[in-house]
């Protein structure tokens, strides 16, 4: 399993293209085996929501074990970020989004119907020890409490707004952040008394703890996975999406705090 930053995708693709040429050319005199280890592997490019970062690495390791010679490269970022990159022509085999609305945005680029592979729910997150004594969502309406949430323009913010509306709570955020990572950062730094993020984000973070939201199950985020129509490895991509729904991957996702699809 390798992991790349968003910007290095194109570079990696170029390098891959060069190594393919080197393998097939055969005029250089050097045998292909002398190239870097793994150069003969088939590479599967997976773009996935940032919240899947650690667990999908584990899933990919299991997939690679079942498919010798396959190298899964995960590229993790905010779903809307990834969707924007795909729409700008970024090459990839599989896309796993943190919500269905974002997957819909790239509907023209995917092959077949997406498969929901996991679910996630929101929770209140507070600094370790809960210094402000937050007990539930209603406390977050208090102006004296410094609350940080995701901006309504991004998936976690849309979900937050839905949950607050369901509960009849008018949130008064001190800041509306771009993504859950920024919300977590403000809370773990003690800058904010409370934030709203996904259950799995708290499981991955340190220096914070969760305060459950009653009725959070009403606004469940579904994670659809899809094979991209421009996939270089469509069959393998299909297998990877199936594998995500299989027992091994589901056990890992459950251990990371994700709900069953």
């Amino acid at each position: 399993m390798r992991r790349v930053a968003a910007g290095s995708l194109a570079v990696a693709a170029a390098v891959a293209a060069v190594s393919v040429t080197a393998c097939s050319g055969g005029s250089g005199g050097e045998p292909a085996a002398s190239l870097a280890p793994g150069s003969e592997d088939t590479t599967l490019w997976v773009l996935a929501a940032a919240s899947l970062t650690d667990v999908l690495d584990e899933v990919a390791t299991g997939f690679e074990a079942e498919h010798p010679g396959v190298d899964v490269v995960g590229n993790y970022a905010g779903s809307t970020d990834l969707a924007a990159q795909l729409l700008e022509g970024a090459p990839a085999d599989v896309f796993v989004s943190a919500d269905e609305a974002t997957m819909d945005k790239v509907a023209s680029l995917i092959e077949g119907a997406p498969t929901v592979v996991a679910t996630n729910t929101l929770t209140i997150v507070v600094p370790e020890g809960n210094p402000a004594g937050v007990t539930g969502l209603a406390d977050l309406a208090d102006d004296a409490l410094v609350t940080v949430v995701c901006a309504p323009q991004v998936p976690c913010g849309a979900a937050t707004a839905a949950v607050a509306e369901d509960a009849g709570v008018a949130l008064s955020p001190a800041s509306e952040e771009q993504n859950v990572t920024d919300v977590l950062g403000k809370v773990s730094a003690g800058q904010a008394d409370a934030g709203i993020v996904y259950v799995t984000d708290v499981a991955r973070a340190t220096g914070v703890e969760a305060v459950p939201i009653a009725g959070a199950d009403e606004a469940v985020n579904r994670y659809p996975a899809a094979v991209l129509s421009g996939a270089a490895q469509p069959a393998l991509a299909e297998e990877f999406v199936d594998y995500l729904g299989g027992p091994e991957a589901q056990a890992l996702l459950a251990a990371a705090g994700f709900g069953a699809p």
Binding site: V146, Q153, Q178, A192
Partner: protein, 254 residues
Amino acid sequence: MTGPRWLAPLAALGGLLVLLPLAGLIARVEWTDLWSLVTSEASLTALGLSLRTSVVATVATLVLGVPLGFVLHGMRGPLRGLLRAVVLAPLVLPPVVGGLALLYAFGRRGLLGEELGGSVAFTTLAVVIAQTFVAMPFMVVSVESALAARSGRHEAIAGTLGASRTRVLTRVTLPALGPALATGAVLAFARALGEFGATLTFAGSLEGVTRTAPLEIYLVRETDPAAAAALSLVLVAVAIGVVALAYRPLRGAA
């Protein structure tokens, strides 16, 4: 001096590296909607906040950066180099690092403590602090290099004529530094206007309070790319205008 001919293609490549992204941005602007996008409530709020905070930050760089330039100029020995490096560091610091450093100093759990840090958190003041932090080096550099270029003869004469040091500063040195102060202020203003990473990390993002134009662009770039491109164009225009203003020939003024 024009240099050897083989410099030309490299220069062309360098020019393209700067021009192509600008061309890409301009190509994405939806000209028919440009006015309505730039004058939407969210855009105007963000631009207004950016202008106000950048002006305040520029004044702050004058009040704090000019004395720093004087102190640096007056210092001798290795300490001067060290202090200069520290003062200028925000110029080259990754923005997120600057933001974290500000958080650890002025945050609720920062060096200044819960009381003071708590009153700064998520306020417009936090935006101004972040902007001043990154913009001040421009003023310090401007002042210090302008002072280094002066012989000090005029100041000496004023001194022998009985002028106090404050009077020498306000009547002789500062007027002579006018062009340098103007350049420093324009560049500091531009840097403050473009401040993004430290603000995001340290001040947060709330419409009308901390969400400056760059933060607004960052937020809407995915959901409303046309609005992001329109606002970006405004900032590009300001940036080019400001730099042209700062580096215009100042012959005769000094």
